[in-house]
Amino acid sequence: MGAAAAVSIHASDSSTAPGTGTPSILISRQLAETEQLSVGSTIRLSRGSDGREPRTFRVAGIYEPTPDPARLGATIREVQMHLPDLLDLTREPGAPAGSEYVETINVALKDKDDTDRFARDVSARMPGIFASSATGAAENTGPFVVLQRFHLAIAIVTIVASTVFLLALTIMLVDERRPTVGVLRLIGLPSGRILMQLFLEGVLIASVGAVFGLVLSLLSEGLINRFFQYHYDTTLIFVRVSPVVAAICVAIAVPLGVTATVVASWALLRRNGLRLARR
């Protein structure tokens, strides 16, 4: 079960051993750093910003918060406590115990593939309660779907720019070999044979380029992640070169490189052999 409440913290620097009846809490690393708290410190928490009716807790541990993209840039000052302690702390004066509510109930199913049926059952049996797969909820989070589209658009523009440059380069490289191709034509090699040779060269160069690109992206993956993790003080992964992403890149880069080589070569091979060989 999960419930959350905004609580204020007062008197935080005492690390003297508390009495045995003091309830324990966990605090986030960022909170420990900003308030200079350590394991064993006692703190007082209140449900109101004015610090009324405070209760004393003992810091039992410091944890690294689960990375949350939605809280990027925020200093996560967070306290985790036992649910009964939180309900005691936040219950309205005069409200009977047991009348509180929780925001979320996390459920671990025996069969992970059973989520849809479970969600339907919950909705049917308990109207007003909405159940959804944790994975689905994360994937459907609006901002990240939009960011995914944004990065895809940037990637498309980059591919277009790369294609144009690649075509220009292959035209120049093929043109550089104009005399050689002319001589090969004059000694009797058919255009198809020369084109095949250039095609294989293109495959080789594009494959080596794609592998080099993947190595470069793997190296930059670490650099970019470290930069953003340092900047935002988070353990979130910003860039991940997954096997699927790598396969897509190779599937785009190699055919693109080969096509550019063949297109540039084809324009050259259509010319007369004598003209090609002429200096």
Binding site: A6, S49, A70, R71, L72, G73, A74, Y101, E103, G128, G142, P143, V146, L147, R149, F150, A153, I154, V157, T158, V160, A161, S162, V164, F165, L167, A168, L169, I171, M172, L173, D175, E176, I224, F227, F228, H231
Partner: protein
């Protein structure tokens, strides 16, 4: 013939490769331009939006963004206190809640809307049709609510407020009369918003949080200035947090949206490196193919500096041509990318991620000029160090 004309003729002689080079630079330049627009766009846009509201001070209970922190107690009295300060022109208290409107096309669950309550003189919205809310049970609605709910000034609507998650659906519906159609500065593209007086909102909320607000917005007297107003409010109400628009923007800059600034820095660096590398390769291959021609020109009397100037001019023409094309391309691309990013939930319709600023154009031109020079360095070195006799002999023998 000067170096620029000579470089132009060299490029025109091979139109396919020159065009492709220019197009490549245009595509990369467009991306670079967009990244520069993105780096500061959101902050500039947010600042403009805050300034357009006409209020330059924000007072809240804590440093949390309005609507995300605790409410200001006794907000009406606090607003009156602020209004009476000599450095303040006007002040208005705002309370944010949610509401479900029982309207025709919204289905059985109703139309879920943002619900605002105000207390004070000036209201932070613009009336488009009808009139502003009065003392009675009146609301103003935005155009999305008007369209979806088929509402018009004078319509009656049942509204069920949702002021705290624990009280959701527990509050009885309240009938309001639509006084007018209004434009709200922070509305999202598809957002539905309704607003009334703070007293009516509190009543719709069950009367449990009477006289509380999320934020008090105030405008300073021009003669006194914002800083003086901030100091006066902080002195008059020491328990509250007061911030000028600049401070709010600064907070906003430090928040999660710095991601766009960081990503633009990374992409600018990658794009520039990519452009330098490719233009260097293009020029180097081009120069290598013309080594004999360049050696012949040197033998005919062209100085070392002259052939160096030719290569540099060639680089400038490719990058310059591509750079010029990159501006309209970049603006078109920015429009498309802005549409994509504005689908992020909660982004006000008037906020843009890509905002044109003269400084962005200046940086763009500087970066392209730098790219043209750096990309030309290696081929310039090749040309400058070219041995004339040996190259000519190789050409003849080869």
């Amino acid at each position: 013939m000067n170096a620029m004309s000579f470089a132009w003729r060299s490029l025109v002689r091979q139109p396919a490769r020159a065009s492709l080079g220019v197009l490549g630079v245009a595509a990369v330049g467009a991306l670079l331009f967009d990244m520069l627009l993105l780096s500061n766009g959101l902050v500039v846009s947010m600042r403009d939006l805050l300034e357009r509201t006409g209020f330059d001070l924000r007072v809240s209970a804590t440093d949390a963004m309005p609507g995300q922190g605790p409410l200001i107690p006794d907000a009406v009295a606090a607003t009156e206190t602020i209004s009476r300060l000599p450095s303040v022109r006007s002040a208005v208290a705002l309370r944010f809640a949610n509401a479900t409107l029982q309207v025709a096309d919204a289905g059985p669950r109703g139309l879920y809307s943002s619900f605002q309550g105000v207390a004070g003189g000036a209201h932070p919205w613009t009336i488009l049709r009808g009139h502003d809310v009065g003392a009675g049970r009146e609301i103003v609605v935005n155009e999305n609510t008007e369209r979806i709910g088929h509402l018009e000034p004078g319509s009656h609507v049942l509204l069920r407020a949702s002021c705290d998650s624990s009280e959701r659906q527990a509050l009885p519906p309240v009938e309001f009369t639509v006084a007018g159609i209004a434009q709200f500065p922070f509305d999202t593209i598809r957002g539905t918003t309704v607003a009334t007086s703070l007293a009516q909102l509190s009543a719709a909320c069950g009367g449990n949080e009477l006289n509380e607000a999320d934020v008090i917005m105030a405008s300073s007297q021009e003669a006194a200035g914002v800083d003086a107003a901030v100091a006066d409010v902080a002195k008059a109400l020491p328990a509250l947090r007061v911030a000028s628009n600049a401070e709010v923007v600064n907070r906003f800059e430090r928040g999660g949206f710095t991601y766009f600034r960081q990503i633009s820095t990374v992409l600018t660096t990658v794009t520039l490196s990519f452009a330098v590398l490719l233009i260097t390769v293009l020029l180097t291959v081009s120069v290598n193919q013309r080594l004999g021609e360049i050696a012949a020109l040197r033998a005919l009397g062209f100085s070392r500096w002259r052939v160096v100037a030719d290569v540099l001019c060639e680089s400038i023409l490719i990058v310059g041509g591509g750079g010029l094309l990159s501006l309209p391309l970049g603006l078109l691309l920015a429009d498309g990318l802005d549409r994509i990013l504005k689908r992020i939930p909660g982004i006000p319709a008037d906020v843009h991620f890509f905002v044109f600023e003269p400084s962005a154009l200046q940086i763009h031109l500087l970066l392209l000029a730098g790219t043209a020079i750096i990309a030309a360095l290696y081929p310039i070195r090749v040309v400058a160090a070219l041995p004339i006799a040996a190259t000519l002999r190789d050409e003849v023998v080869g």
